[in-house]
Amino acid sequence: MMQAHEGYVTEDGRQIGGTVMELKNITLRFGGVVAIKDISFDIRQGEIRAIIGPNGAGKSSMLNVISGFYHPQQGEVWFKGYRRGPMKPYQVARLGIARTFQNIALFDGMSVLDNIMTGRLNKMKAGFLSQAMWWGAAEREENENREAVERIIDFLEIQNIRKTPVGRLPYGLKKRVELARALAAEPQLLLLDEPMAGMNVEEKEDMSRFILDVNDEFGTTICLIEHDMGVVMDLSDRVVVMDYGRKIGDGTPAEVRANQEVIDAYLGVAHD
């Protein structure tokens, strides 16, 4: 059974709730390679939780375990009080988990609006016939969903590219569109895989602002991976530090920053 943790109050005064997701003794292997070695940690309601680590530390694998894309050979994944077995991506989405990808997975030929609309798919229930004839439930649903999508477009300030095909957008904007699509699913847990990778300083600041605003405005629990230490420390409430597939630190940014093992990992002390 999952242990319910008490919530806590962050430095800036936000009330964080109990555990949403708990990972227990996760080990993930690809053939002979051990990507994740016996890692446990939890994510609590309303917090911004970061997973950091040097390249190849196993961060993305960890995120894929959380998102249900990889199935660990050992360990348990608990979400909202239930132990989760292997599941299909659409089942994960229905559970209320949405994600973005490190290498952007949008539909290039479709407009920004249509791309974000795809994020609403799990909110649409009209039957095939109704959709095809654009009548009754289908029309009503489309209007409702379009409104929800427009609010996200407004929120992320991408009104000017609403009708632009995604393939024509620069990288920084594609990242924002991806975030928009994830938000469109109204997730309870939002997973961001390197949201700031390849961005310049101003784009990074914009993205940080949006992540904080999403958390603040919708109360979305966010778990993100990032290797830009500065950004992570400013953004997150609690940080898990990974190195070579192991967890070497876990706590508030201040605690993590003071952790000798973390410092060693980042400054490149020789490993045995």
Partner: protein, 658 residues
């Protein structure tokens, strides 16, 4: 239908005009704003209700007559309402430039002693909080957009919608007080205070009374027959007097609709959807549009290009004449009609200019090609000349008397005379009351008879009675040999080339003229793409030998045209360089309205100026740049300096200089 002039004693304030509009056009749209992808609209009756609720809320919040309410945000109905609500309370609205950095904002907030600030969003709130300590007087912050504001300390902060809710709740308690405040407003009450961008020194707070704004709005609305059916798009900074006159003065006077775009980046799309009938844009907007049309035509297929070229040839021949009502041969009329169907109609529609009945441009000189392009499409684009201190209008072009090189005849009610030194003076009902807390500047600008010095040098054309502006009076100088130096005259000629975004001509008191040039990244970048020239940065493109060669051709062409005027032939450019960075208001090199600050530039780029005159072929320089968030950095570059051919008499100077 035109609106009648009011009897004396009535309609002496914006709130009074608002009440009239409710009675007269209550169900017509007053404001529209695109939000969530849909145009939301408010009729005059609905807008008046919103404004009253806001005014009551402000009273409840503690706004007192004489207080200053600063407004910092993009063009939104709520912000225009904020200004009217402040006036209702007897307070003075002070719109600020939303892209101003914190330091500039601090000066203005402190100078006017603003007790209340209405911010558009979190970004503006952050700036205000940052400078709050130094300004002191601030009592309450109000914000329009709630996003990201939850975590802020709200003891002295409120959402605009909450203020309105409070106002509605207090309607019975505070209603009579508000009514008596509104009744107390007259022609001499301050309507608005606007800070001039200040090409030199600190910004000055220009106090404009209800008389200034309402008289100007009435006169100019009659000049162009503006009615309640006009549609305008409010997209220019709210802190700029033009926006206040168009979107507030004339809009409330005539009762027409003010449409606010979704954001700066959606402006073009939104404008196409609205199709304004009355439109103002500074020349650079028209230039930018024309450049993008030309670029896209070059990318178009052969048939389209042929159609465009043929159509535009007809348009240039017949368009302006048709617009002015001059006789046009039947063949051209027919050709123009066809062109309208196949070329100009669709093009105007794409630009969002299909319905424009009256269009104005001002602020800078507009290139004759650009001006003629729009007029030949059948768009009634005219020029006006004005400034903040005049509530905009000094001169404007009447329909049928439009040319690119004049700024028109004095606006109704405005007297204009030319001083002995060539400076333009005016006196009008729109003439400002004073510079706030600056009696000295007021006295030196406005004489006891009410004449105001514009600071521009110009003359009236005898044949037509139209005013022509040469340059800023203080910028007109003398070269070492005593010939006239008019930098802006030459700069404007340079800027008419799409490749040149900005130019700064130097030469006052010197042997010969030189220039620093900014390339236009969109035009030159497109050219580079077309010619397979790769570049990694603005700086690299600016320094490219072929770019230099192109700019050199332009400079020589300008020299040739300058040489034609014997009075100004000394202003030909002997040497130039292409700057490695864009001149930027954030770096203080330009004003917020994008006018170059000569003193700052000659100081900041002193090493470049030296190199322009000491004959060196290149110069290595380091320049400080300011990022959008106010942080500073350094860029360094080696700039080439190019010699240019000069024409006519000026040739001798060059020989002498070498």
């Amino acid at each position: 239908m035109t609106v009648q002039q009011p009897p004396v004693g009535e309609l002496q304030s914006i709130p009074a005009l608002l009440a009239r509009n409710v009675a007269r056009f209550g169900h017509r749209p007053a404001y529209r704003e695109k939000e969530y992808g849909i145009w939301q609209s408010w009729t005059w009756a609905q807008a008046a209700e919103e404004i009253r609720a806001l005014a009551l809320g402000l009273l409840a919040l503690g706004v007192r007559p004489g207080d200053h309410l600063a407004i910092i945000g993009r063009n939104r109905p709520a912000h225009y309402w904020g200004m009217i609500a402040a006036q209702m309370c007897g307070a003075i609205p002070v719109p600020l430039y939303q892209d101003a950095v914190a330091e500039e904002m601090a000066y203005v907030l402190e100078h006017c002693g603003a007790r209340f600030v209405l911010c558009g969003d979190q970004e503006q709130v952050d700036k205000v909080i940052e400078v709050e300590r130094s300004t002191g007087a601030l009592a309450q912050i109000i914000y329009t957009d709630r996003r990201g504001m939850r975590k802020y300390d709200h003891t002295r902060m409120n959402a605009l919608a909450d203020i309105q809710a409070e106002g509605r709740a207090a309607a019975q308690r505070l209603g009579p007080q508000l009514d008596s405040l509104i009744a107390g407003l007259d022609y001499d009450s301050t309507c608005v205070m606007l800070y001039t961008s200040g090409t030199t020194g600190r910004p000055k707070g220009v106090v404009l009374s209800n008389r200034n704004i309402i008289e100007t709005a009435r006169n100019t609305a009659q000049f162009d027959n503006l009615t309640q059916t006009e549609e305008i798009v409010a997209y220019l900074p709210m802190a700029w007097v033009g926006d206040f006159i168009f979107s507030m003065g004339q809009a409330v006077w005539s009762g027409f609709t003010v449409n606010c775009p979704e954001g700066a980046h959606t402006m073009m799309t939104d404008m196409r959807e609205i199709g304004p009938t009355y439109f103002f844009a500074p020349p650079r907007v028209f230039e930018g549009q024309l450049t993008s049309v030309m670029i896209r035509m070059e990318d178009a297929g052969r048939i389209k290009r042929w159609l465009f070229r043929r159509g535009m040839a007809v348009a240039r021949r017949a368009g302006p004449a048709l617009l002015d009502g001059r006789p046009v041969p039947l063949g051209d009329r027919l050709a123009y009609g066809l062109g309208k169907i196949f070329v100009f109609g669709p093009l105007k529609n794409t630009l969002g200019l299909s319905r424009v009945r009256v269009g104005y441009t001002a602020g800078e000189a507009i290139g004759p090609e650009i001006f003629d392009f729009y007029r030949s499409l059948g768009i009634n684009l005219k020029q006006l000349y004005g400034q903040t201190e005049a509530s905009v209008f000094i001169t404007q072009q009447p329909d049928g008397q439009v040319r690119s090189d004049t700024v028109g005849v004095p606006s109704p009610g405005v007297e204009v005379r030319i001083g002995e030194n060539g400076e333009v003076y005016y006196r009008s009902p729109g003439t400002f009351v004073e510079y706030y807390k600056n009696a000295e500047s007021t006295a030196s600008t406005k004489d006891p008879q009410g004449w105001v010095a514009t600071g521009d040098a110009g003359f009236f054309e005898e044949a037509t009675g139209h005013l022509r502006i040469i340059d800023r009076a203080k910028d007109v100088g003398k070269m070492a040999d005593g010939s006239m130096f008019a930098p802006k005259y030459v700069e404007n000629k340079l800027k008419f080339y799409p490749n040149i975004l900005e130019a700064v001509v130097i030469g006052n008191g010197r042997e010969y003229c030189t220039a620093m040039i900014n390339i236009d990244l969109s035009a030159v970048g497109n050219w580079a793409e077309r010619n397979n020239i790769s570049y990694g940065s603005y700086q690299e493109l600016a320094g490219h030998p072929q770019v230099y060669a192109t700019i050199k051709e332009h400079v020589e062409a300008v020299n040739r045209s300058v040489a034609e005027d014997p009075m100004l032939s000394g202003c030909q450019i002997h040497r130039f360089l292409v700057l490695h960075k864009e001149l930027d208001p954030d770096d203080g090199e330009m004003t917020r309205t994008r006018k170059v600050r000569r003193a700052v530039i000659s100081d900041k780029f002193a090493d470049l100026v030296t190199a322009l005159y000491d004959g060196s072929p290149s110069i290595h320089t380091r320049t400080e740049v300011t990022y959008e968030d106010g942080r500073k950095g350094q860029i360094s570059a080696t700039l080439r300096i190019e010699d240019v051919q000069v024409f006519g008499e000026a040739l001798q100077h060059k020989v002498a200089a070498e």
